[in-house]
Structure formats: structure tokens, C-alpha cells
Point group: C2
Chain length 425, copies 2
């Protein structure tokens, strides 16, 4: 190439005004065009201006795409700037013309950084880096790439050093990022699932509380939990003869075995019966009273986990529990998903009985609001605090070097802030 960069300057005329005012459509179109042109997206930012018009930029590994729209004129200006020779900017030009339903477009290509005008320097990056490091006491940062989970109003971003796994399974997008703060991070459809550095909170709290309050659990069922952490913690308890785990998506298992091996460490345990199938179907087909503990270790109530948040499903769980059986579910964040949180507690109580359902909390920094809830629903007499032996609990936590759960936390987790207690009262 005769230049460092190619810059296509584009004008689209007579576009659909409605499309040019639809920030979601534009963002998708721009990102899709970048990917189809062969670019690697680093991040993007789109804004809808009042009263109308959209601005946005997609930053790609190979430079950027930018757009500004004037719906009232049916006009959009687009810049497609690429460097290297792996991206064809004209592919993006053509895709966007169609996406915006442009009557016509004009485009000129500029060469940026004409090589005939430039001279390559003897550029000692290593020396510069060392110099910089000694100044600041830490190595110069070489990349600045963030994973972001966002809803309409809140976003959490984690800086990472790259993506280790990226597969579209039959059910969802499965990704693993190498984050700087939390180690390797599993995401499903862009939502944080678990990370190496804080997974123990969730997995210790979802397993030891039921196990240490049930008279003598022998069989446990885990619905979901494909990362393996829940199975790993359950199998610390010698009382179990069998732990059945039904995960719908084998790609989740694969991703975690490869990139979160500390979480996926129990897959070879002979007491684990791993079934790759639909958990809803499994529960429906299971025999009455066949499990002492059922743990619903699901994602949020969208995508493949949606059916795990229905009355029908919980009724089936109730049926397959033994007389003193306990159901544990992750029950979302009271602050973030307050609607779902309230609704599912109503459902649990309608099935298990008003006083048989208890909520408990744990601090999970990578989940929205940092406050996460679990539900403890008891079919028989098991009670999360009355049937709890502090000495036994303390010994267990110590023996296994648990990092979150201990006898004090066991009790404290059930103390709810007044606003949370009120939500489910």
C-alpha cells in the first residue's frame, strides 16, 4: 500500500428519515458493516440528539467508522477510515447504503499518510517503554479495551487484555474475556456470568447454605450451572451420593473447561452425572421426590433461561423434591431487577407456602448493583437458620478454605435491608 490509511468520505442522500433517527438501527448497521468489511470492533458509542439526529462512532482495530445523520434532510455523512490491508471499506459503504435505504450516495477515497511523504524512524519502543515504566512504576499500557455490560441506565465496564473464547452456540453467544480486575470472565449474550476472581461468592452461597441446613441430603440436582462452580462446591460435601447437573449448552462447559479451569474442576468427579440437555424437560421427566436439593443456577430471565422463571417450572421442582427437600435459586438483584425479584417470590410462596420461602443476599461485584439475592424454599421442615449448626459450619468452612461463606455470613445473609424486606413482604 502506498499509504498508511484509506479514508472513504461518504454522503448518503434521500435516506429513510425514520431510519436516520433510530439510534439502535444505526448502531447495529454500523457495527454490522464494520464486521462484514473485515474489521475487528473495539467499542462503539452512539447518541441520539434532541430533537433528532444520531451521532456515532465505531472504533475498530483498524481505525474507525463515524456517522452523523440529519433525518430532516434524509442525509447522513459517514467516514470509513481503515489502515492495514485486511479491511475493505467499500464493503461497508455498500452495506450502509442499503441499510439506510439511501436513494443515492457519493463517496471519495482519500489516502491518509502517503508513504512517499513519510520516513520510517529508528523507533525504539522498548527503550521508551522502559523509560515510561521507571517513571510511573508500572508498565506503559499497550491496549485499552473494555468489556461493557449495560442496560438502559447503568453500565459496568471491565478492562481486558483480549477475548479468549468467542462462539455463537445454538442458544447464545458464549465469550470469555481476560479481564484485568477479575481474571477470566464468562459472558453469555453480553451478560456477565462468572469470573475467576469473584466466582466463589456465588458458588459458596448457593450450595453450602442448603447443604448445611438439610438433615442429610443425598441427591442434588443443578439446573444450568455450566461453568461447574456449583457442582464443585456441592461435591465438597461427602454426604452426596450423586449430583446431577443438567446444562443446556455444551459450549458453556467447553469454554469454562478451557479458560476457567479453576471453576470447572469437578467435571471429572465420579459422583457428578453431567447431562447436556434442557433442564426444564429433565425436571418434567424426573420422578416425584427424587432430589433432596434442587439448585436453579440460571442466567437472567431472557434467552434460553426464560422458561426457568415460570410457575409451571417451579411446580415441577416442588414435585421432584423429597419431603424435606430444598430449592435454591439465584433470584436476581432486588434493586436492578426489582420486578422479577418481587414476582418470583410471590410464585415461590404460592407453591411452597408463605413461611417456607426465605431470601438471602451476597456481595457480587461483577453483577449489577453488587447486591445479589438467592431464594431458599423449603418443602418440609428444613429451616435456613433454625437447622443451622454454627460449629459444624465453621469447621466445614475452615477445612475447605472457603473465601466468603462462614458461620457468621450464613446467618447474616438472611438479614435483609428494610427496602428489600418490604419488596417481598
Amino acid at each position: 500500500m502506498a499509504s498508511l490509511g484509506r479514508h472513504i468520505i461518504v454522503e448518503y442522500y434521500n435516506c429513510s428519515s425514520e431510519i436516520l433517527n433510530d439510534v439502535v438501527h444505526i448502531e447495529k448497521s454500523m457495527e454490522g458493516a464494520a464486521e462484514d468489511a473485515g474489521a475487528t470492533i473495539i467499542n462503539s458509542t452512539f447518541h441520539h440528539f434532541s430533537p433528532y439526529g444520531v451521532s456515532g462512532v465505531v472504533v475498530i482495530q483498524e481505525s474507525h467508522l463515524a456517522i452523523h445523520t440529519w433525518p430532516e434532510y434524509g442525509y447522513a455523512s459517514v467516514d470509513i477510515f481503515t489502515c492495514g490491508d485486511t479491511v475493505n471499506p467499500w464493503v461497508a459503504y455498500q452495506i450502509l447504503k442499503e441499510k439506510f435505504e439511501a436513494g443515492h450516495g457519493s463517496a471519495v477515497e482519500l489516502l491518509r499518510g502517503e508513504k512517499a511523504l513519510l520516513k520510517e524512524r529508528d523507533f525504539d519502543i522498548k527503550a521508551m517503554r522502559d523509560e515510561k515504566s521507571s517513571e510511573e512504576g508500572s508498565p506503559i499500557r499497550t491496549r485499552d479495551v473494555w468489556f461493557t455490560e449495560r442496560d438502559d441506565k447503568i453500565a459496568l465496564s471491565l478492562k481486558h487484555d483480549g477475548k479468549l473464547y468467542d462462539v455463537q452456540s445454538d442458544f447464545q453467544k458464549v465469550e470469555v474475556y481476560k479481564t484485568q480486575a477479575y481474571g477470566n470472565l464468562l459472558t453469555l449474550d453480553g451478560m456477565v456470568m462468572t469470573s475467576e476472581k469473584d466466582e466463589y461468592v456465588y458458588h459458596e452461597m448457593i450450595t453450602h447454605i442448603p447443604t448445611l441446613t438439610h438433615p442429610k441430603p443425598k441427591r442434588a440436582l443443578v439446573i444450568g450451572g455450566g461453568d461447574g462452580g456449583t457442582a464443585r462446591e456441592l461435591l465438597r460435601h461427602d454426604c452426596y451420593d450423586e449430583v446431577v447437573m443438567v446444562e443446556i449448552d455444551d459450549k458453556v462447559i467447553e469454554a469454562c473447561k478451557e479458560h476457567l479451569p479453576g471453576i470447572a474442576s469437578a467435571f471429572d468427579n465420579p459422583k457428578l452425572n453431567l447431562i447436556v440437555d434442557d433442564g426444564i424437560k429433565y425436571v418434567k421427566d424426573a420422578a416425584d421426590g427424587s432430589f433432596d436439593i434442587v439448585i436453579v443456577d440460571s442466567t437472567d430471565p431472557v434467552g434460553p433461561a426464560e422458561g426457568l422463571f415460570t410457575v409451571e417450572f417451579y411446580k415441577e421442582v416442588y414435585r421432584i423434591l423429597s419431603d424435606d427437600g430444598i430449592m435454591i435459586t439465584q433470584s436476581e438483584s432486588p434493586r436492578f431487577n426489582s420486578k422479577v425479584f418481587k414476582e418470583i417470590y410471590q410464585v415461590y410462596r404460592s407453591i411452597f407456602g408463605q413461611d417456607q420461602v426465605h431470601c438471602y443476599l451476597a456481595y457480587i461485584p461483577t453483577y449489577p448493583t453488587g447486591m445479589w439475592s438467592f431464594s431458599y424454599s423449603s418443602k418440609g421442615k428444613a429451616h435456613p437458620l433454625k437447622d443451622f449448626n454454627a460449629e459444624e459450619s465453621k469447621a466445614f468452612a475452615k477445612k475447605h478454605g472457603l473465601k466468603y461463606y462462614n458461620e457468621g455470613i450464613h446467618q447474616a445473609a438472611f438479614a435483609l435491608p428494610s427496602f428489600v424486606a418490604e419488596m417481598i413482604s
Copy 2:
């Protein structure tokens, strides 16, 4: 103007290679150039590519600025795209030329969206909006602007509808954002301080725990706490004859009175003695044993609050406490600020005694990791759990309609996850 936008296409040659590889310098230069040119910055994203080179975009209300650098050629390509007539792109051109120490530069101006080629449509945005609303059940979003608090590895972003207050005080940058998730939000130097929707957690927990465990507190001192929330909660207790509050920055008080009036509601209480001055100096000058409760309601250990995290300061606090006095401080996030967290507990224990210092926790969704800690240091016999009367506590919480604190939370807050307990053991 004859066009919708002006686009300056810039090439800088013979720049400093070192500068072109310094992502922080480039980000600051680009943002500064945008502001000096008259633009309003919406957000920006900069990335340092391995092995070298920086890409970045500043999205402005009036379009964007983009840069890609090739340090090994001493070359940078810059695009400055503006619309409207309030921004002069050539100002930015000149500033960046100097910032990058460019030997020479070239630039051409393109007109984007030539008006002679465009026809304004009869564009009924209201109808489109209504249509869109009825489709999705919610109004079309008209802006997408986010406040972000970030450190090197983690960032929390909150979408807002604009900035209500923006003053550079003698001490810090004081801002109030109108966020969608948490109501009005006070930030100091870009760090979240308090928000309307979750402030009660912090303020209830920092005040009621000491007040309800001290035999009979009559005088309390609050260092910092300029939003007024701590004073407001203390003054719910009739036992106090006086609450002295020493806030260094009157702009914080002003911002909160104007924009967070629910938090700043106690400034007119006759029992409140509000002093705008340096809290460190105030404590130094105060008489021995003159306060029953001292609450250090500070920002993080940077900026004006730095002196509130020193051994000397805590020794002075100890001195001015009465015999059964209690010091409460916010003690950062164990996960996020683990170094500071560990250090200050060592300091507290060296001053108050090994068994006189207790840590307690609360869920604060707008603070990093969502887990925040407080310290309870007792000069005399007061103990946070032994001297706690659950019935009294329950009645108090009920009477005042508290939203977080209750008798269960009082006890549960002192149960520490094992990894936190270990950090300060």
C-alpha cells in the same frame, strides 16, 4: 452556512514519536482542543495499540474529532468534524499541531451535506415518536449521555439527562448529574459521592450504629459530610444536644442544597453547628474529650481528604473523644481499595487497641464493587453488638421509616466474608 457540517482533514508530520505513543497525552490534547474550539464533549474513547500507535475519538455535541497515530513515522491523521456554527475547527487544528510538536501539518476543509443538494422534509418528529412509543411501550430515547467513574480496570457508567451543577471550587470539581437510575448524583473530581436513590444506605449506616450503641451521646462531630445526609440522620436522635459539622468546601453544600434537597434537609436544624473550614485543623484545635461520637464522612484518600487518612489525624480524633467515645469512618471498599482498607485498620488498632476496632459492611450500588465498609472504633467500653438493644433499634427504625437500617442489619453488617475478615486479621 452553506452546509450541514464542516470537516477538516488533517495530516501532521514530523511529530514527536514519544508524544504520538502516549495515549494519556493524546486524550488530554484532543479533549482540550475540542473544548477550546467551543465544542461540548459527550464522551471519548482512546486506545493504545500494541506495539505502538494510538487511536481515539472524542464525540462532541457538534459531531466528532478522531485521531490515528503512527509514532514510527512521526505521523498523525486527524479528522475534525463539526456542525452548527459555534465550533471553530481551525482552533483545534492549531492546538493539536503544537501539542504533538508537529514539524508541519496539512489540512483541507470539506463541506459535508451541501445544502444546495438537500431539501428539508416535512419531518414530523412527534408523530414518529408517538408511533415508536406505542410500538415499544416506552418513549423513544432522545439522548444517550453517560457519566463514568473509572479506575484503571473497572468503570461504572450512569446514564444521565444532563448536568445540573458544575463548579470548580477551591478544592475540587463539584458536579451534580441528573441520572436516570439513581436520581441526582453528586460527584467530586469525577468520583461518585452520593445519589438521591441510594444515599440512605450510607447515611443510615454511618450514624445509627454508633448512636444506638453509645450509652448516651450528647455531642457529635462530623468531618466532611457536606451533602448533609449524615447530619440529617444524626439529628433524628433526640439525645444529641449538638451536632458539629466541619465541611471544607462550601460549594458542596451549595450544590446539595440546590440539587439534592432531600439529603441537605437538616442544614436549618438549630442543633446543627455548621462550620465551613478545614476538618483537620478543627480536630487539632478541639478540646480533649469534647465529643461522644466523631464521624469521618470523607471522600477517598486523594485530593482535599488525603489528610483525613493519616495516623496524626486519627490520634487527634482519639484525643477529642470522650471516655466512651466512638469514632466511625467510611473505610473504603475491601475489594477495590484493599491496600488503603488494610492500612487504616492497622492504624485504628494501633491507636484504639486491637479489640476496640470493628469493621462493618453495607451494599452501596454506586460505589465501586457495591460493597462498602465502615469502621467502628471504641475509646471506652461501647461495643457495637453487646451494647445494642434490638427492641430499641427496631422501634427507632420503624418510627423514622428507615429504608436500610434495622435491628437485623445492625448485627448482620458486622459479619464479614472470610476474605474480608482475613484482610484485617
